[in-house]
């Protein structure tokens, strides 16, 4: 069966990270969402994949070009204008023959186990179109699904109002027939309406997903995604070429990539992940749910906690980064601190451009975009978004002018 991954969207709520990449190219626990999906597809026995690209398409094209794993046939198709999900699906129309079924995947979702395999199994036994459904932590922003006793979906209500009751929601994984394309055209390219039409006709079965599932919409959800993946790990691994100096303490599940260097006195509290070629300085403390990308540098005495640091970033000595996401190629100077709570323990608000989001979290740090430079000695307010490329000067209390 062919799989289609939708990866064209802008995902503007995910700024500053979606400014510079499509959502599926965000890495958690050392691997991009897209790579995660592709691996799960392979394990589900699916080798022919079409990725619909648009926003920063080059990131995905380069990634696919550099992927050497055998047995996978991956092609990119471009969605030229931003026409929504239905329009993105229609980009693949020519690749699917009449009568053929395909697996449709939203690229911004993440699961701990293989949801594609589960959807395939449901399709294999029902022999009719299937939508994966799940129970998310909150349901306001999803399509709510109503079932009958035979697992047939008989109603889909988009973003229900007025009721505080959660239902099963669409998990962004479907097995659909080629005839779905004409349904989309009839419904003015609306995915919602097309699925509703199918449900009304009784043509759509549910495949229930009870494991972890996350639709990554906001930057702090990257931390949740990271936790889901790290929690799914059951064993540690340390690459043969990694260098571990004396007095390195490790607890729990720790993964260390090739050629990483862990200097003496470092403490690694699992679950955590250190990418290939990264350097962890002396006496640094890497606390649980920290994922450090490849070729990063963490200075002497740095404390990291519940954070995602993307590739090629540096964190200067004696800094603290917690409950934060740091982009690629970020340079954080010595002695910087991401403050991660309000003094009165009120829930953190995140200001992204002009919109203020109230999170439900009492502890949350900063979201630092790619290529940012933060000079030494800066203290960052909880919930701060730093846009890509921004240069923040060092913060001195004593200068040559005083």
């Amino acid at each position: 069966m062919k799989a289609i991954i939708l990866a064209a969207g802008k995902g503007s709520n995910l700024n500053p990270f979606s400014n510079t990449r499509p959502i599926p190219m965000i890495s958690v626990a050392g691997r991009t969402l897209l790579d995660n999906s592709l691996r799960q597809l392979k394990n589900a026995g699916i080798n022919d994949v079409y990725i619909v690209v648009g926003h920063h398409k080059e990131r995905i094209q380069d990634f696919i070009a550099g992927k050497t794993e055998d047995g996978m046939n991956i092609h990119c198709l471009e969605q030229k204008k931003n026409g929504g999900i239905g329009d993105a699906v229609l980009q693949v129309k020519e690749k699917i023959s009449p009568g053929e079924y395909f697996l449709l995947i939203y690229g911004d979702t993440l699961t701990d186990e293989n949801i594609y395999s589960k959807a395939q199994q449901s399709f294999h036994s029902f022999k009719c179109p299937v939508a994966s459904i799940c129970l998310p932590p909150s349901n306001e922003s999803f399509g709510n699904v109503f079932l009958n006793a035979q697992m047939k979906i008989n109603k889909i209500v988009e973003k229900p109002k007025g009721s505080n009751f959660g239902n099963y929601v669409l998990a962004g994984v479907f097995v659909l027939p080629e005839s779905f394309f004409s349904l989309l055209k009839k419904n003015k390219h609306s995915m919602e309406k097309s699925l509703q039409t199918m449900a009304k006709k009784g043509d759509l079965m549910a495949s229930m997903w009870e494991n972890e599932w996350l639709d990554i919409v906001y930057p702090w959800e990257i931390l949740q995604a990271n936790k889901i993946i790290l929690d799914s790990w059951s064993e540690s691994s340390i690459a043969k070429s990694a260098v571990m100096e004396s007095n390195v303490t490790m607890q729990g599940v720790v993964k260390i990539g090739e050629n990483a260097v862990i200097k003496a006195g470092a403490v690694l509290e699992g679950p955590c992940s250190i990418g290939r070629g990264s350097y962890i300085g002396n006496n640094s403390l890497i606390r649980s749910y920290t994922s450090i990308g490849s070729n990063c540098s963490v200075g002497y005495g740095v404390e990291l906690k519940n954070c995602v640091v993307l590739d090629k970033s540096g964190i200067g000595r004696l800094s603290f980064v917690g409950d934060s996401v740091i982009g690629e190629n970020v340079d954080i100077g010595a002695g910087c601190m991401t403050v991660n709570r309000n003094t009165n323990w009120e829930k953190i608000q995140v200001k992204n451009k002009k919109t203020v989001f109230s999170t439900k979290m009492k502890k949350l740090g900063a979201f630092v975009g790619d290529d940012v430079v933060i000079g030494a000695g800066n203290t960052i307010q909880p919930g701060t978004v730093v846009l890509p490329g921004k240069k923040i000067p060092a913060c001195y209390s004593v200068t040559n002018k005083t």
Binding site: S97, P98, F146, N164, F165, G166
Partner: protein, 606 residues
């Protein structure tokens, strides 16, 4: 777009071939065909139409063979006709082949072959392939060499599977751009357009890539490049697949499936033989003394019935746990012992029954499994017909028993003129409406209950409280929590609080209170009193109630609100909530849902 598959094995594989090609039907189906190697003869059958129809009408399964290939077609070149249906054979009938893809130079090849004397029967592009192989076989006297030469002559895309009389126990296959996979079973080897062709038999797949061909026998396979003829080492991909899924019908666990099947089991109970129920009602009515006997969940079903009969009829029928029965019960000829068991094999209940029979008591039972020991042991048995219950935790079977007992109580009440026909009909109607109400709860509340279960899965101690008939609801719901989530939960009558238990209430002990509908005024008020007692000690209360839009908002720490129903069916809805809460807590704690520790489906030991 077509689907192809092939199977080679030791014994007849036509059934396996059929299953495989049926699972590939999603790739297109306007015609279908197979070729089987019967000893050294090629048997080819084909027809237009779907796979199922083809196999049934053509009596295809009667064809025998140890090697075979099959095809389901979606026409691209040539109309949907018998002649255009795969497999295609060579002029001499030595080769049969199925193909998925498009041969772009087929006109050129075909003209050449016709010039050389080959006869074509179809309009398809595919038919050139067996003829080419025949031609090159004559030249090289080797099927493999002929195949490689042919593959290098073809332009376009293909995935093919080939059998020939020269190697009756081999399948040859090859790929360029069209999908192809091998399935590596112990006794059987497969080739297919994708894993759907063989996943019911093996999860080990080898992915064939472009410009590769493979030769399969029952015991081995080899993959080579048709460009260089060099052998290629392939790794086996183990496809993640849970073979139980089909039986679970899309549900992640049997427990959830069986919870969702409860609306259906209510309908089944409503259709049970009414005269048989009347006979059991007569047995109760004519007895001097009667007991409900069960153990574990069915003890709570019995307890529930104790309340039911006391409220609906003039009879007090105590519930006894099977294992305590011998110590407690007074049994004689005029005693009726009504036992409850899902499996009908429960050791403790059988012991109780044997004791009762030794005292010449009358016996009856409600069981789910036909022909089970208990069903054979008793004078009268009601088979509840809930269908197999596979999850070790009983949900739908216990539920159906409670419904059955409610109907028995109503019948007795009517018979003894405690209620009028009109009231009886109204109550039965409420039960008839129950499936839809429960279906709505499952649809509309499960997400919310899931969220509550996630938020409180770390709670170590729960008190489950209820009064009146809601007390057995609390007991049964607490047992569900213990059984599947391994969380300590204590079921207790609400009135117990002020007799000591209140001392335990603090922020570490959470309570769930099953609150009756407001129309059940007395019970409602005294239950709410318990809630206030806990809240006064800043205890956590999860209220399960029927008071939508009430002003009690701040009374509960969390609440699950149920739709307003008649008091007689209200406890059933609470039971469903108890099941879902236990299930989702177990999910959150990553428990082994369908096979929890320390519990077997039917406890057959003492």
């Amino acid at each position: 777009m077509c689907g192809i598959n092939g199977v080679v094995g030791l014994s007849n594989i036509s059934e396996v071939l059929f299953q495989g090609i049926r699972n590939l039907e999603y790739r297109g189906y306007d015609s279908c065909g197979i070729a089987l190697m019967n000893k050294n003869n090629l048997v080819v059958r084909k027809n237009t139409g779907g796979v199922e129809e083809f196999f049934r009408k053509g009596d295809i399964l009667s064809a025998k063979g140890k090697t075979g290939i099959a095809h389901t077609r979606w026409a691209t070149h040539g109309k949907v006709t018998y002649d255009n249906t795969h497999p295609f054979t060579s002029c001499d009938g030595a080769f049969a082949l199925v193909h998925n893809g498009i041969i772009s130079n087929y006109r050129f090849l075909r003209d050449g072959l016709i010039g050389e004397g080959h006869t074509f029967r179809s309009e398809t592009d595919t038919e050139v392939i067996p003829h080419l192989i025949e031609k090159y076989y004559k030249k090289y006297s080797s099927v493999e060499k002929a195949l490689v030469k042919t593959l290098n002559t073809l332009e376009g895309t293909f995935a093919i599977a080939l059998i020939s009389i020269y190697h009756p126990d081999q399948i040859f296959c090859a790929r360029r751009e069209s999908p192809l996979m091998l399935g590596i079973g112990d006794e059987l080897k497969f080739v297919g357009s994708d894993f759907n062709a063989f996943i019911d038999f093996t999860k080990n797949a080898v992915i064939i890539e472009d410009n590769e061909y493979a030769i399969l026998t029952r015991d081995s396979y080899v993959v080579k490049s048709f460009l260089t003829q060099e052998e290629i080492a392939k790794s086996i991909t183990k496809i993640e697949w849970d073979s139980e899924t089909a039986k679970k019908g899309g549900y992640p666990h049997y427990m959830l499936k069986e919870i969702y099947e409860q609306p259906q089991t209510i309908n089944t109970v409503l259709e049970l033989d009414s005269s048989l129920m009347d006979e059991v009602v007569d047995m109760i009515d004519t007895s001097d003394r009667a007991y409900f006997v069960g153990v574990g969940t069915t003890f709570y079903v019995a307890k529930f019935s104790e309340y039911l009969f006391s409220s609906l009829t003039d009879r007090f029928i105590p519930a006894l746990s099977s294992d305590e029965f011998v110590s407690l019960a007074k049994v004689d000829r005029k005693t009726l012992v009504l036992t409850l068991s899902q499996s009908g094999e429960t050791f403790d209940t059988i012991s109780a029954l044997k004791f009762a029979k030794s005292k010449s008591a009358k016996t009856a039972a409600i069981v789910n499994v036909m022909g089970s020991s208990i069903s054979r042991l008793v004078d009268k048995v009601i088979l509840q017909g809930s269908g197999p219950e596979i999850c070790v935790i009983s949900t739908k079977a216990a539920f159906a028993q409670i419904i059955t007992l409610t109907i028995l109580a109503l019948k007795l009440s009517l018979k003894t003129k405690k209620i009028k026909q009109r009231e009886y009909d109204a109550s039965i109607n409420s039960i008839r409406e129950l499936p839809e109400v429960i279906q709505n709860i499952l649809n509309e509340r499960s997400g919310f209950i899931h969220r509550i279960a996630n938020n409180y899965s770390k709670v170590k101690n729960w008190l489950y409280l209820g009064k009146g008939i809601y007390y057995p609801v609390a007991l049964e719901s607490a047992l569900k929590m213990k059984e599947v989530a391994y969380v300590h939960a204590e079921g207790m009558p609400g009135g117990f609080l002020k007799h000591g238990t209140l001392a335990m209430i603090d922020q570490d002990v959470n309570s769930i209170v099953f609150i009756p509908p407001r129309s059940d005024k007395k019970l409602y008020e005294s239950t709410m009193h318990s809630v206030e007692e806990i809240r006064a000690r800043s205890g956590f209360v999860l209220g399960v109630h029927f008071d939508e839009g009430s002003k009690n908002k701040n009374l509960f720490s969390e609440e699950i609100i149920l739709p307003n129903v008649k008091p007689i069916v209200a406890p059933f809805l609470q039971l469903v909530i108890g099941q879902l809460l236990a299930y989702f807590t177990a999910i959150s704690l990553k428990r082994n849902i369908d096979k929890p520790r320390s519990l077997a489906k039917s406890v057959t030991v003492g």
